[in-house]
């Protein structure tokens, strides 16, 4: 393997100040990423943040305006065909030959990657069975539902057994059942393949990712494991309690004990650097307050995302 000097062999994908302009618009702005072999890394961000542009550059579909990247040690600008031999891509559009059936679509990809016919058939059979498409595998793809096309698109990215997998919004527009089926399959690939995933579904990123980055306006805004990002969101804990017969005296007592106390209709919201669930509930009981429900609120990736980008997610 012709490996560039200085490249870390443990890294599957490395970007070096990767930048792409479209006229005056800076779609990707000096991004530096290191994704380890076997890691599942997610790129999150609002529409137009630069996720797909980053993937298109890493798949050698777009040339960077400046900077570069390496996939398995091969430079995307200098050795694009070496990179293309090692990657599998499931694009945002399903991008399947509509008048071909599953076998014919997979055979095309197999032949382009110079797999033997036997090997292509074996891999196709295995993947079609696993993704629940074997019974419809001889039907022309144009007769498939959106979910079936997405699953076939994923199989087309996998049939040649690539080392690195790029999944651009693999569950976009799918019903919850189809989405779960694809998540389960991606989860099975963890550790076996290096996966770069972009998604709008934060739950998807939370469940699947080893690490993730939130990209906004072409820049990496934050990077880490889902747990790290949620933990770093705030150094305060929040407790939400649904109560009845709350009195001014009790509110005054709580304000003396905790940093932030807020009442929203029948909800009492307490925030402090440390909250003791038992202590709070016992205090309220002792004051004769009826507690209907109480929970310590865990931060979610949604909270992280909105804090970082200040934007709601859009599809």
């Amino acid at each position: 393997m012709n490996v560039r000097v200085g490249v870390k062999l443990s890294e599957a994908i490395q970007t070096f100040e990767l930048t792409r302009h479209f006229n005056s618009l800076v779609a990707v702005n000096h991004i530096n990423l290191e994704i380890g072999k076997g890691e599942l890394f997610s790129l999150l961000g609002p529409n137009g943040a630069g996720k797909t542009t980053t993937i298109r550059m890493l798949c050698c579909l777009l040339k960077p305006t400046s900077g570069t990247a390496q996939v398995m040690g091969y430079d995307i600008a200098e050795e694009p065909f070496k990179v293309k031999e090692l990657i599998g891509v499931s694009p945002q559009e399903t991008s399947i030959s509509e008048r071909l059936n599953c076998w014919e679509n997979l055979s095309l990809i197999g032949e382009i990657h110079r797999l033997t016919s036997t090997e292509t058939k074996r891999r196709s059979q295995e993947l079609l069975e696993r993704m629940g498409l074997i019974e419809r595998s001889k039907d022309q793809v144009r007769k498939f539902s959106g979910g079936m096309k997405r699953r076939l698109s994923l199989i087309m990215a996998l049939v040649h057994d690539p080392e690195v997998l790029f999944l651009d919004e693999p569950t976009l527009g799918l019903d919850p059942q189809s989405r779960r089926a694809i998540w389960e399959y991606i989860a099975q690939l963890k550790g076996k393949k290096t996966i770069l995933l972009t998604t709008h579904y934060l739950e998807e990123a939370d469940v699947l990712s080893d690490r993730l980055a939130i990209i906004d306006e072409g820049k990496i805004a934050v990077l880490g494991t889902p747990e790290e990002l949620k933990k770093n969101l705030s150094d305060k804990q929040t407790m939400v309690i649904k109560v009845g017969n709350l009195t001014a005296e009790v509110m005054s007592g709580l304000r003396g004990r905790y940093a932030e106390v807020e009442q929203r209709n029948d909800e009492l919201i307490l925030s402090a650097s440390e909250l003791d669930f038992k202590e709070i509930t016992e205090y309220l009981y002792s004051q004769g307050i009826t507690i209907r429900s109480a929970a310590l609120k865990q931060p979610t990736l949604d909270d992280v995302f909105i804090q970082i980008t200040g934007k709601e997610l859009r599809e």
């Binding site: 293309k84 031999e85 030959s97 509509e98 008048r99 071909l100 014919e104 382009i112 990657h113």
Partner: protein, 361 residues
């Protein structure tokens, strides 16, 4: 071979789309049948043509008039004086007459010497002259192949062309039919672009020539099959093949490849079907008009003739007509073949460059 895999896929996409295939094959067939019924064959009324022979009634000119009289789709009316023909034209009794000028026999004897004929027509009725002109042209071309004036009478009767209008029209229609490969090829490429299929394939190790050859390969059988169908329909409608069928097929095959090359270029340039198809017709319809698909190019201003001669369609129509109606040999049409092969090579080279540039964008 990656291009082979890609070509198989493209061919399946073509023949599994019956509507598109029907349009590709159906339109030229409909044109051939409609034009044949309208202007040629048993169903059409014979053309009336008055002939003024000013060549002192030489044996050669007389044989030529007899040749015209023997043609099934012509009714020849001899007029002795040109002044009488002029008067009848001015009073509307005639719309067209043919003058065989003095010196016709002399010119016919000398090989390579241009032989002049005059077709005088009423400017208020140019369509009749347009129908008569190709018939006279084909008859004269057949007649003037005769080198010895002694054989005039015999060979004049031996003209076997049943319907010269069909012989003139069918080669033009076949080339026009093959021109429809351009929007067909463009549609396949831009649809692959629009649906992201080409982007997916561009993330594989396939090279630019794999794409060009893959798209082209799928259209080659379409060229061969459609040419055979058009020729078959043409023959069914009365086309009589004077020259070598294989040579005519070769001409059509090369212009078919040229059309595939144009499709590759336009397919690389446009990114949506809404742009690609109108752009094809914007280019192809004027090309068909000035190249002689529907009327003789000699009627056009010389500047248009020169423009037409710079493009391959003109040469394909010229060469195929020479072979089909004039029995021209391979060496006779070689200049036209040079044009066609040259254009094919250039178009494919440009197509590969554009695909390479697109892959590197």
């Amino acid at each position: 071979m990656r291009f082979w895999a890609f070509g198989k896929r493209n061919l399946k996409e073509i023949y599994r789309d019956p509507l598109a295939l029907g349009f590709l094959l159906g339109m030229p067939i409909a044109f051939i049948v409609i034009f044949s019924f309208a202007f040629g064959g048993e169903h059409a009324s014979p053309l009336n043509i008055s002939v003024v022979n000013e060549d002192n009634r030489s044996a050669t000119s007389e044989a030529f008039v007899q040749c015209l009289e023997n043609m099934e789709n012509l009714e020849v009316n001899r007029i002795s004086e040109k002044s009488q023909a002029e008067e009848e034209l001015s009073t509307g009794k005639l719309s067209t007459y043919l003058v065989i000028p003095e010196g016709f026999a002399q010119q016919a004897k000398q090989e390579g010497q241009p032989v002049k004929l005059e077709l005088v027509f009423d400017e208020a009725d140019p369509m009749t002259a347009q129908r008569v002109e190709p018939v006279i042209r084909v008859a004269a071309a057949k007649f003037l192949q005769i080198s010895s004036p002694l054989d005039i009478k015999l060979l004049g009767q031996g003209v076997e062309v049943k319907d010269n209008y069909i012989n003139y029209m069918v080669p033009g229609m076949i080339v026009f039919g093959l021109m429809i490969l351009v929007p067909t090829g463009v549609r396949i490429i831009v649809t692959d672009k629009e649906k992201g299929f080409l982007s997916r394939l561009l993330t594989t190790p396939a090279r630019p020539w794999d794409f060009i050859l893959g798209y082209a390969l799928a259209l080659v059988p379409v060229v061969a099959v459609s040419t055979m169908i058009y020729l078959g329909v043409g023959m069914g409608m009365g086309l009589s093949m004077v020259g070598n069928l294989g040579l005519a097929f070769l001409v059509f095959f090369i212009i078919g490849l040229c059309c595939i090359g144009i499709a590759m270029i336009l397919g690389a340039l446009f990114s949506s079907e809404a742009q690609g198809e109108p752009a094809c017709w914007f280019f192809l319809l004027p090309m068909a008009m000035i190249s002689g698909a529907w009327w003789p190019t000699e009627q056009m201003p010389s500047v248009l003739q020169r423009i037409a001669a710079a493009f391959p369609f003109f040469h394909a129509m010229d060469a195929s007509r020479q072979v089909i109606t004039g029995g021209a040999s391979f060496t006779t049409i070689l200049p036209d073949l040079y044009w066609l092969i040259g254009w094919t090579v250039v178009l494919f080279a440009i197509g590969i460059i554009l695909f390479r540039r697109q892959m590197a964008s």
